[in-house]
Each structure stands twice: as structure tokens, then as C-alpha cells.
């Protein structure tokens, strides 16, 4: 039986509380003496009143209504939903990390600074870049930082370039970032291979081109094999190359952005480096740059003096400035570093090998049931299409996704990339077993036969989740984004 879950505001009773506080151990002054009446809150704060046990039950019940990687297979394309090692959580919770204040003197946080230093060394090696900044808090934030660095570089050469190229297969954050950076996005079409159309690229680059943002492998999971020429075309007009690291999980130990001609890269530490996604954050969009761009990185950057002491260097006259209050999501960097150390070079390479093997194996299992537009070896992910069953039985991508929920799987990324009709973007990752892939393939197959026999069963899915299919249109048309007490 499906039951509605009460909101916090519908629970508890006036007078209950879920936390205790220390007594006032100083002589108490009247409130008016400390806070002038005209500066005081006028209406009392209205919050629910629950005991600690009620709080725990409420959120435990909510957790039962949520699906994570620990719940089951989560092949959300371009999001790299790999297993999140528990050791990451344990070490990041050490008080020596969680109870540091960002304004503590550098001398008192040498362990934290060394961790940043060591993590940087590792990520430099994996990406082939010369310096890393951990300030960006998420992938899109890294994109913005990277683009600002590129623009600052051009400005330092007396150029105000305003055009940034992106393939039509790019993540939505790319064009949105370009706008945030005050530039204009110019879309480059993909060719019949699903790769950047070189001719179109050549026609669109010019002296106003600040750079090209590229994901490689791209969002179709295909390696941009003309990367050499792409880099040359962009560099020839003085533009720079930006690497969206969302898909780095495919190529560790096989190719490095720094060797492919990229000048700037952002890494999603919450994807490739296994720090959890946290339900949508905190992540980390650490940015790596080549030597000539180091002066433009956000300040402060980490320094190491002759005696081996670490310090924050705020003196960077050409820096783009600050893009985070402090140094970025530190404890996320702790988790990524832990992962990096546990895997080492052989482990990371094995990660990419298994990720790519899993993806190709699964693609091969699915291509007889779903249309595969680009028939070639994929990297860590691939895009299949529900266009045939849509045409024949009226069962589209959204229906397939909802039907998968009934089989206990999280669906792939849907309706992206935009260049494939009725797309499903599948990224199994390396942490899934062959049995899981086989089970998933079987479910995908069953959905096709169900679509044929009883399409209504699929279009009305999901049937086994805590709520039925939710009405997004009404929610958007008549937004209700907060609880309001009933009169």
C-alpha cells in the first residue's frame, strides 16, 4: 500500500525538543540591553517541535524513500555513479579535518595543507596538468573558473575574446557557463560519427575565439579521435582548449588531457574519484591548468617554502580573484585523495579498463532491443534510443525509465544528449559486476516485450515505488515550493 509521508511540519507537539544545549554560565543581561527593540525579530520563529527519536524516525523513513548507489545499480550517464568507498567517509570525519577553521594560521594546519599538496601532485599526474586549484565546489563551478582563467589569459595579452565554442553534444552546464562568463556560446555540430565536425569547427574559429570546451570522451561515450587536429585548429587562432572532466573515468592511464592539447581541465572529484554525490553535492570541480595559465588561477594558491612548510600564497597579481569563500570543499578533497592513494596508478588504470569493458559489454547486450545510432566502440558510456518502441507502441524514453524503477534499477540519464532521438545514456561504471549488467539487460529486454504486449503497463509505470508517476507539469505551472499551514 502506498502511503503519504507526513512532513516535519505535520509532526511533533508544541513543547517537544530534539536537542539539548548548555546552560547560560555567564551573568545574564536583559535582551533589550543587548539588542535594541527595533532590531529584534517581530514574529516568533515557526519550526516543528520533535523529540530526537521522532527526528530520527522521520529522516530514516525518508531515507527508505530514496535510492542511492548502495541501494542498487545507478547507470546515470555522465554522472559516474560508482561505488563510494566507506573508508572515504571514515577518514574525512576525523576531527583533525572536520574541526579546522579556515582562518587558522597556516602553521596550525600543516597536515591539511600537505593533504592538498599531495592530492594536487596525484591529480597533476593523472591529468598531465601543471597546477590544480581545489576552490571550485562543483563541476559547473570549475567550468566557470576555467573559463575565467582563459579570459584572463587573453586579457593579459591585450585581447578581449568573447566567443566560446561547444559541440552540440555538450553538457548543458557548458553553454550556461559561457553565458555566466560573459561570453557567447557557438555550437559546433557533430558529424555522422558522433564526433566534432572538423569542417564546421574550422569555419567557426576566428580571432575572437577564446576557446573550445570539450568533453573527451564526449557525452555519447565516444573518443574524439581528431583531438590532435581539433587542438591545432583552436590553438592556431590563439584560442585555448578546455577539458570538461566529467568523463575522465574512461581514460585514466590511457590518455591525459594535458597530452591531448588541453590547457585547462576541471575534474569532478565526486564522479571519477569516488567521493559521493551526496544527493547533489557537495562535490568538487577542481581545476587544472598548464604552466602559462598558473598566474591566473584563483587565489590563494598553495606554496611550499625552503623548509618544507606549506602556506597559502595570496599574492597573485594576475589572478582571476576568488571564486569560493575559502579553499573549496576540503573534506571532499580528503576523500578523493584517499581513493587516489588506495588505487594508485595500476588501480586507476584498471578502473578505466573495467569501466570501458562494462560499457561495451552492456551496449552489446542492448543493441538488439534499442536503436544504437553510433555503432562503434564506446568508452565508459553509450547512448541508446527508444525511438523504435516509441514509434511502434507509443512507449518513449520516459516510460522505459519509469518501468526500470519497478525492476529496482535507477534509470540511465534520459533525454540527453540532444542529438539523439529518445535517448538513454547508460554509464555502468567499473564497480558493477557482470551479473548486475546481465540483470539490467534482461530488464531492458523485458520492457521492450512488455511495450509490445501491453504498452499501457509501461506508460503507467512505475507501479512498485512509494509514489506513482508524478505530475511535473502542474508542479511547474503552479509552483508550491514550501509548506504552508492549512487555515
Amino acid at each position: 500500500m502506498r502511503k503519504e509521508k507526513a512532513l516535519l511540519f505535520e509532526l511533533g507537539r508544541p513543547g517537544r525538543r530534539g536537542a539539548s544545549l548548555p546552560p547560560v554560565d555567564v551573568p545574564e543581561k536583559p535582551l533589550e540591553e543587548l539588542l535594541p527593540p527595533e532590531m529584534q525579530r517581530e514574529t516568533p520563529l515557526d519550526l516543528p517541535e520533535l523529540s530526537e527519536g521522532e527526528v530520527m524516525r522521520h529522516f530514516t523513513e525518508l531515507s527508505h524513500r530514496n535510492f542511492g548507489v548502495d541501494s542498487g545499480f545507478y547507470p546515470l550517464g555522465s554522472c559516474t555513479m560508482k561505488y563510494n568507498p566507506k573508508i572515504n567517509e571514515e577518514v574525512a570525519a576525523f576531527p583533525g579535518f572536520t574541526h579546522l577553521h579556515p582562518y587558522q594560521d597556516d602553521a596550525t594546519v600543516q597536515g591539511a595543507l600537505e593533504l592538498f599538496y599531495l592530492a594536487e601532485q596525484g591529480l597533476k599526474e593523472v591529468t598531465g596538468m601543471d597546477r590544480i586549484s581545489f576552490q571550485p565546489a562543483a563541476g559547473a563551478h570549475g567550468e566557470l573558473t576555467g573559463l575565467m582563467v582563459i579570459l584572463a589569459y587573453h586579457r593579459s595579452r591585450g585581447e578581449k575574446r568573447k566567443k566560446v565554442l561547444v559541440p552540440d553534444s555538450a553538457h548543458g552546464t557548458n553553454p550556461a557557463t559561457i553565458t555566466m562568463a560573459g561570453c557567447k556560446a557557438v555550437e559546433i555540430p557533430s558529424d555522422e560519427r558522433g564526433l566534432v565536425d572538423l569542417e564546421a569547427l574550422k569555419q567557426n574559429v576566428d580571432e575572437d575565439t577564446a576557446g573550445l570546451m570539450l568533453t573527451n570522451p564526449n557525452t555519447l561515450g565516444l573518443f574524439e579521435e581528431d583531438i590532435d587536429q581539433i587542438a591545432r585548429v583552436v590553438h592556431d587562432v590563439g584560442g585555448l582548449l578546455y577539458y570538461d572532466g566529467a568523463n575522465l573515468n574512461a581514460v585514466m592511464g590511457y590518455a591525459r588531457p594535458g597530452d591531448m592539447g588541453f590547457d585547462v581541465v576541471h575534474l569532478n572529484l565526486h564522479k571519477t574519484f569516488s567521493t559521493p554525490h551526496g544527493g547533489g553535492g557537495p562535490g568538487s570541480g577542481s581545476v587544472g591548468v598548464k604552466e602559462k595559465l598558473i598566474p591566473f588561477l584563483p587565489y590563494p594558491v598553495l606554496g611550499k617554502d625552503g623548509e618544507g612548510n606549506y602556506y597559502w600564497n595570496h599574492d597573485l597579481p594576475q589572478s582571476i580573484g576568488k571564486i569560493h569563500s575559502f579553499y573549496g570543499n576540503f573534506t571532499v578533497a580528503v576523500k578523493a585523495y584517499t581513493y587516489l592513494r588506495m588505487m594508485g596508478a595500476p588501480g586507476l588504470k584498471q578502473v578505466s579498463r573495467d569501466a570501458v569493458l562494462n560499457a561495451n559489454y552492456l551496449m552489446n547486450r542492448l543493441k538488439d532491443y534499442y536503436y544504437l545510432k553510433y555503432q562503434r566502440t564506446c568508452k565508459h558510456e553509450f547512448v541508446i534510443s527508444a525511438r523504435q518502441i516509441k514509434k511502434n507502441y507509443g512507449v518513449g524514453t520516459a516510460d522505459v525509465a519509469k518501468a526500470l524503477l519497478d525492476y529496482g534499477f535507477h534509470p540511465p540519464t534520459v533525454y540527453f544528449p540532444l542529438i539523439v532521438e529518445e535517448p538513454l545514456m547508460v554509464e555502468p561504471t567499473e564497480t558493477e559486476s557482470k551479473e548486475t549488467l546481465d540483470d539490467f539487460a534482461e530488464a531492458m529486454k523485458k520492457i521492450v516485450s512488455l511495450a509490445q504486449k501491453d504498452p499501457e503497463q509501461v506508460t503507467s509505470a512505475p507501479h512498485n515505488t512509494v509514489v506513482g508517476r508524478l505530475d511535473e507539469l502542474t508542479a511547474a505551472r503552479y509552483p508550491r515550493a514550501r509548506w504552508i499551514p492549512e487555515e
Binding site: 502506498r2 597536515g111 566557470l144 583531438i227 559521493p276 544527493g279 580573484g321 567499473e430 506513482g468 505530475d471
Partner: protein, 449 residues
């Protein structure tokens, strides 16, 4: 057998899978990477560690830090050492939450979507605003996005910010504005707060917003009487950054006429974590709901009329609108927002008020004690919340060194950010600081000349 315990594939399975694909080796799957860019060497990384070795290594790094649990701290300035109830950790530790992603598939993400909805509601209750989003990266980027949104809403390109706003917020604002060729102007301070007399002259018909902070970076409460009317009269918006811990006692930004409220929510149930992850919060008046950045959870119904929650007003967002989105934000600080929700649910209205009151009373105690010391001068007479600047008889760096030797982490050296406040220290007192700890601090200050 794999030596990496996160990787389930066995060599036999790999062989079966390769066979299925009709190839002989995994390397064949990488031949599309041209030789010219293929990495042929071995990455130079330290050899892999076992889990127990990793724990030791990380523990060794952590042990080299002086942390706030062992050394009582008087540092605040935007990130605060408030008490976090144990329940917060236990909810956040539930892996259904922390191993999930942005709730794209609503039917299996009701837990997170409902908790975001509850969070949004609580942020509205605290600030008095109509609508809040699911979170931003931190206070600084929340304020920067609020300023950018003001420019988009008003179609103007200048923002005026008070010098009393957190220096890091102003720096981030500057970086965001430099990129877009927006203009940023600063209003000076008077007695440690926004200088009311300077404002009118600086806000013109090109000004999109005035950005203020209350309590401000220096801990002082600002007087905004008549401010919103003046700002609105010029067609600009009022953006206020606030400390959520103060709001159970301090006038809400909605009351003094703010259009957008943005700020740092770390103190709601999140540790200081060396400044990250933090929690940016963002709220606005109803009429700006569709201009807001970030995710928003909204209430709806399922096919049988049952209440449920979805991400809503998504046409604002990058994955739909691409280059015309209100912001590029995608991942935010969801788990930190969950911490804030559990924190507020645990404390309730009474607990939240007690925390605010404890901060206020204890800060007053310490301020009075320090004021009575010779050589020390409380810089501003005006009302404050839990922080206040003190001019000290010497270099703050030396003072803090002495305090550290006594096991105390001292306040912030303000000269770093305000040359006019050389030799001044910003002391912060949360409910965690005991009278004993404060008396010890005072004792150390007394003995230092």
C-alpha cells in the same frame, strides 16, 4: 583475482565479456585513442595502499593539525564552531542519501526531494522570505548569484556593496562581475556599519542592487531603517546576507524589505571543515521565483492524487535552457542542506532561540571582560551579535601565537582585510565557549603586553 576491492570483475568474467564482444584484450577497446595522444608510460603515483595503511596515513595527516575540539577557538568571521547534535551525523550517514545523485527520478528520490522541500520551508520561516532554493555552494557564491540575478531582473549592470560585507564575498562578487563586465562599487563604513549617508549618492538609475550584511562581517548589527524604500525608489533591489543563527532573535530581512536573501548556512548543523563544504542559502520574494538560480523542490501529486515532490521550475536551469539559463549551477551542497534541515528539526524554535541567546549573552560577557583590560579597546560601541572587534596592544599575530601556546585559537587579525583596523582582532563567541574558556582567554590577554 583483483587486488582492488571496489572492482568486482574477475579475470574469468573479463575473459567471458571479451569473448562476447569478439575481441582478445581490453586494450582493443582503447585503439580509438590516437597514438599521438595515447599515454604510454605508467602514471607516477605512490603505490596503492591497503585500507588500514590508508587510515594510518590519513590519521597522521589529521593529527598534524590543531583542531577546534582540542583547542577552544574564538575564530568566526563567516564560519562558525556551533554545536552539532549527534542525530545530524546519523542521518547524513544513511547511504540512501549520501550515495544518491541530484533527484532526477522523482519516484525513487522522494526522501531527498521531501527533505529539500522541508529545508526550503525552514529557510523561508527563518528569513521571512517567500521562496528558497535547494542550496548554493557557499555564502560568497550565493551573494554573487544574487547580485547577478539582480542585474538580470533589473537589466542594469551596476551593484553597490557595503564595505561591511564579508571580504571574501566581495572578492568572489568582484570575480563574477569582472567576467561579465558588470560594475561593482563599494560603500564605506562608519562606526563599523554601513554608512547610511553615502548610499543615496551612489545608487543611481544604473544600479541593480545594494548588497548588505547583517550582522556584518565585523559582527555588528546594522540599522536599515528606511533603506529598502530608498533602494526601491531608485528601481534597485536590496540583497541581504544574514547569519541564520541570529534570526530567531534578530529582525528578519523580509521585515527590512530585502528582495533577495543569500548567505552562509554552515552554522546550521555543519562542521567548520576548514571552510568546505559550506552551505550557501538563497531566498527571494515570490515574484522573483522564476528568476532564481539553482534547484527547487516543489509539491505535486502522483497519478492517484497522492502528495509527492519533484524538482520544479526547471526551465530556469542549464540542462533545459542551456545558454539562457538563470545560472550554470548543477551540483550544489545538498547533503549540507540536509544537515541544516536535521539541525533545525532537532533544535526546534526553542532550541534555535536558545542558541542565539547563548551567543549573544556569552559574547557580551567576553566583550565586557576584555573592555575592562588596560591596553585593549573594543572598537565600536554599537550593537553586535556574537562577534566584535578589539584593538589589541601589539601585533595580533604575536598575540595569537601566545594564545596557541596556551591551547587557545585566537580571533581573526582584521588588518588582513581592513588596513584601517590594524592591530584589531575579531573575537567570536558561540554557545560552545564556556565561561572557563573565556576567563582563560582574558587571563592570557591580560598577561600579554
Amino acid at each position: 583475482m583483483s587486488r582492488f576491492h571496489y572492482l568486482p570483475l574477475t579475470d574469468e568474467e573479463r575473459a567471458e565479456m571479451l569473448n562476447d564482444l569478439g575481441i582478445n584484450s581490453v586494450d582493443e577497446l582503447f585503439t580509438d585513442i590516437p597514438k599521438t595522444v595515447r599515454f604510454s608510460g605508467e602514471m607516477e603515483l605512490p603505490p596503492p595502499l591497503s585500507e588500514s595503511e590508508a587510515v594510518n596515513h590519513l590519521a597522521e595527516l589529521a593529527d598534524r593539525n590543531y583542531h577546534l575540539q582540542e583547542n577552544p577557538s574564538f575564530l568566526g568571521a563567516g564560519v562558525y564552531d556551533h554545536f552539532v547534535p549527534a542525530a545530524v551525523k546519523h542521518v547524513l550517514g544513511r547511504s540512501e542519501f549520501y550515495t544518491s545523485y541530484t533527484p532526477y527520478q522523482a519516484e525513487v528520490s522522494q526522501g531527498l526531494l521531501q527533505s529539500i522541500f522541508e529545508y526550503q520551508t525552514m529557510i523561508c520561516q527563518l528569513t521571512g522570505m517567500d521562496v528558497a532554493n535547494a542550496s548554493m555552494y557557499d555564502g560568497a557564491t550565493a551573494v554573487a548569484e544574487a547580485a547577478v540575478m539582480s542585474c538580470n531582473v533589473t537589466r542594469r549592470d551596476k551593484v553597490v556593496v557595503s564595505r561591511s560585507v564579508h571580504p571574501a564575498y566581495r572578492q568572489v562578487l568582484q570575480a563574477y562581475f569582472d567576467a561579465r563586465d558588470f560594475r561593482l562599487e563599494e560603500i564605506p563604513m562608519k562606526e563599523g556599519t554601513l554608512d547610511g549617508e553615502e548610499i543615496e549618492a551612489q545608487i543611481d538609475d544604473q544600479t541593480a542592487a545594494l548588497v548588505v550584511q547583517n550582522p556584518n562581517f565585523l559582527g555588528m548589527l546594522e540599522d536599515y531603517n528606511g533603506l529598502a524604500e530608498m533602494v526601491h525608489g531608485k528601481g534597485a533591489l536590496l540583497v541581504a546576507a544574514v547569519d541564520p543563527i541570529s534570526l530567531p532573535l534578530v529582525k528578519t530581512p523580509a521585515r527590512y524589505g530585502a528582495d533577495i536573501v543569500a548567505g552562509e548556512g554552515q552554522s546550521l548543523g555543519n562542521f567548520t571543515s576548514y571552510g568546505g563544504p559550506l552551505l550557501g542559502f538563497f531566498a527571494a520574494r515570490e515574484k522573483f521565483a522564476r528568476r532564481m538560480p539553482g534547484r527547487i523542490s516543489g509539491q505535486t501529486v502522483d497519478t492517484e492524487g497522492r502528495r509527492g515532490f519533484v524538482m520544479t521550475m526547471q526551465t530556469r536551469e542549464q540542462h533545459i535552457r542551456r545558454g539562457r539559463a538563470t545560472s550554470n549551477i548543477c551540483s550544489n551542497q545538498a547533503l549540507n542542506a540536509l544537515a541544516a534541515t536535521v539541525y533545525m528539526a532537532s533544535l526546534g524554535p526553542q532550541g534555535m532561540k536558545e542558541v542565539a541567546s547563548l551567543c549573544l549573552q556569552k559574547a557580551a560577557y567576553l566583550r565586557e571582560k576584555i573592555e575592562s583590560l588596560t591596553g585593549y579597546r573594543v572598537v565600536y560601541p554599537g550593537p553586535y551579535f556574537k562577534e566584535f572587534p578589539v584593538m589589541v596592544p601589539g601585533a595580533p599575530e604575536e598575540l595569537n601565537q601566545r594564545l596557541l601556546e596556551a591551547g587557545i585559537i585566537g580571533g581573526l587579525d582584521l588588518g588582513r582585510f581592513y588596513p584601517e583596523l590594524e592591530n584589531s582582532v575579531l573575537f567570536c563567541v558561540t554557545e560552545k565557549r564556556t565561561r572557563e574558556e573565556m576567563d582563560k582567554l582574558v587571563h592570557e590577554l591580560e598577561g600579554w603586553k
